[in-house]
C-alpha cells in the first residue's frame, strides 16, 4: 500500500451561516445594565453625571404616579402624531402627483430639491412668526420634516414601477385611473414605506428640538427642564421615554407595512 494522505475540504464560509442563540441579545443588554449599575454603586462616576438605572426607574415611577410624565407624553404624542399624519398624507399625495404629471414634475421638482436640504429646525423661528407660539408651529415643523422624505420616496417609487406591469394592465383593459390605483400605487408602496420609516426618525428629532426651543409641556421641554435643574435621574427618565417612543413608532410602521404589503 502506498502512503496516501487525506485532506478533507472544509466549508470555508461556514462562519457566514453560524447560528447565534437568541438569549445572547438578552444577555448583552442585561450585562450592560448590570455594569452600569455597578459603576454607579461603586461611585466610580458621580450620580449627577450618570445616575444608576435603579435610581432612574425609581424617579421615573414617581413621575408616572404624579401624572407629570403622562401630561408631558400626551402633549408630545399629540404634536408628533398630528404633524406626522399631515406631513405623510401631503407627501404621498404630492409625490404621486409629481410622479404622474410630467408638467408638475418639471415645475415643482427643482423647488422641492432646493427646500429639501434645509435643516427644518432652522425654519422654526420663521414658523413661530407665522403661526404664533401655540401648538401650530410644532405640528407644522414636524409635518414639514416628514413631508419631504415621504414625497421624495413616493416620487421615486412611482418612477420605479416596472413598465412591463403598466403594459400588462393596459393590455388587459385598465384605464388610466385604474393603472394608477391598481398598478402604480401598490408598486410604489414599498418605497413609500421606506420614506415613512425615514421620516419617523426625523419627526422625533424635530419634536424634541422644537419642544426644547419653545414649549411648556412635552418630553423635550421636560428633559431640558430637568437638565437645567441638574436632576439627571428625571432627565434620563425622559430620554428613556423617547427611546421607547421611537421604538414603538418603528414597530407600528413595521406592523402596518406587513399588513399593507403582504406580497413582499
Amino acid at each position: 500500500m502506498t502512503n496516501t494522505t487525506k485532506k478533507v475540504i472544509k466549508n470555508r464560509v461556514a462562519f457566514l451561516e453560524k447560528k447565534i442563540p437568541s438569549y445572547v441579545s438578552v444577555l448583552g443588554i442585561t450585562g450592560i445594565l448590570l455594569l452600569w449599575e455597578l459603576v454607579c454603586r461603586l461611585n466610580i462616576v458621580p450620580p449627577l453625571f450618570l445616575p444608576a438605572p435603579t435610581a432612574i426607574i425609581t424617579d421615573g415611577w414617581e413621575m408616572i404616579s404624579s401624572g407629570e410624565l403622562l401630561k408631558n407624553l400626551l402633549a408630545s404624542l399629540y404634536r408628533i402624531l398630528g404633524g406626522y399624519a399631515i406631513g405623510a398624507v401631503l407627501g404621498i399625495v404630492v409625490g404621486l402627483l409629481l410622479g404622474f404629471s410630467k408638467l408638475a414634475d418639471a415645475i415643482f421638482t427643482p423647488i422641492v430639491y432646493s427646500i429639501y436640504p434645509i435643516p427644518k429646525i432652522a425654519l422654526l423661528p420663521l414658523i413661530i412668526l407665522w403661526f404664533g407660539i401655540g401648538e401650530m408651529p410644532k405640528v407644522a415643523i414636524i409635518a414639514l420634516g416628514v413631508f419631504f422624505p415621504v414625497l421624495i420616496n413616493t416620487f421615486s417609487g412611482v418612477k420605479s414601477v416596472d413598465p412591463s406591469l403598466i403594459k400588462a394592465a393596459v393590455t388587459f383593459g385598465s384605464n388610466h385611473f385604474n393603472v394608477i390605483r391598481k398598478v402604480i400605487l401598490p408598486g410604489a408602496l414599498p418605497t413609500i414605506f421606506a420614506g415613512l420609516k425615514l421620516a419617523a426618525g426625523t419627526a422625533l428629532l424635530l419634536l424634541v428640538s422644537a419642544e426644547m426651543i419653545a414649549a411648556q409641556y412635552g418630553i423635550g421641554a421636560m428633559v431640558l427642564h430637568y437638565g437645567n435643574l441638574m436632576i439627571t435621574t428625571k432627565l434620563m427618565a425622559g430620554v428613556l421615554i423617547l427611546s421607547l417612543l421611537g421604538l414603538m413608532f418603528n414597530r407600528g410602521l413595521q406592523w402596518l407595512e406587513r399588513k399593507l404589503i403582504p406580497w413582499k
Partner: protein, 258 residues
Amino acid sequence: MKIVIENVEKRFTDSKKNEVLALEDINFTINEQEFVVLVGPSGCGKSTLLNIVGGLLSPSKGQVYFEGTEEDKEPTLGIVFQEIALFPWRSVFENVTFGLEERGASKNERAEKGKHYIDMVGLTGFENAYPKQLSGGMKQRAGIARALAVEPDLLLMDEPFSALDAQTRTIMQEELLTIWNRTKLSTLYVTHNIQEAVYLADRVIVLSRHPGHIKKIITIDLPKIGRDQDQYRAQFEKYADEIWQLIRHDAEEALKEA
C-alpha cells in the same frame, strides 16, 4: 376573423439622433385558429413587431387590423410577456382574473373562468399564492392563464419561455400545445429558438435584420401534435435546418455587433 398586418414600418431615433429603420415592409395575415411564429436573430425587430400588433407601440407606417369582426366589438387581445409581468401584489387568482375584472365581469363569472383557466394551466391549489411564491415555470403558467382568461381574439406571446431553464421549457412547450388544442386561439408567437418555432407553428415567419424584414414564410406541414416523434424527425430537422440557414448569417452579424 383574421388579423392583417399591412405594410408595417417602424423607425426609431437612437441616442445619437440617427434614424434607425427597425422594420420594413411587413405584410402577413394571421388566419382564424392559426399559430404563427415569428423567428429571427436578436435585433431583427420581432418583439417590436409583436408590440405593434399588441397596440403597445405605434407603427411609423402601415397598419394592423382585424377583418371580419362582429360589429361594435373591440377585438380583445391577450399578451403573454417575456418578463411575465404578473402583479406581485395580486394572488394567482387575482392575476388571472385581472382582465375580466377590468372588463367589468361579474364576480361569479370571474370565479368560474378563473378556476377554469387555472385548472387548464395546471395551477390548481395555487390560487391564493403570490407570484413570489411560485417557480419561474409556474409564474409563466399564471401569465398564460391571465391571457387566456379574457378569451382573446388574438393571443400574443413574446418569448414566453426564454427565462425558463431548458427542461421546464420543453415541458411548457408541450403543455402550450395541449392548451392551444383546446382553445384554438389565433396566436402570434415570438421566439429566437428555431426548434421551438418548428415544434409549435402552423407557419413560421423568418425575419432578417437591418432593417427587419420578412425573409421567408414557411408552412410547417406536419401534424400539430407529436412532431417530436421519431417518424417526423427527418422532416422536423429539415425545417429547422432550412430556418437556420436563413438566419445563420444574420445571427453571426448580430454577434459581432454586441
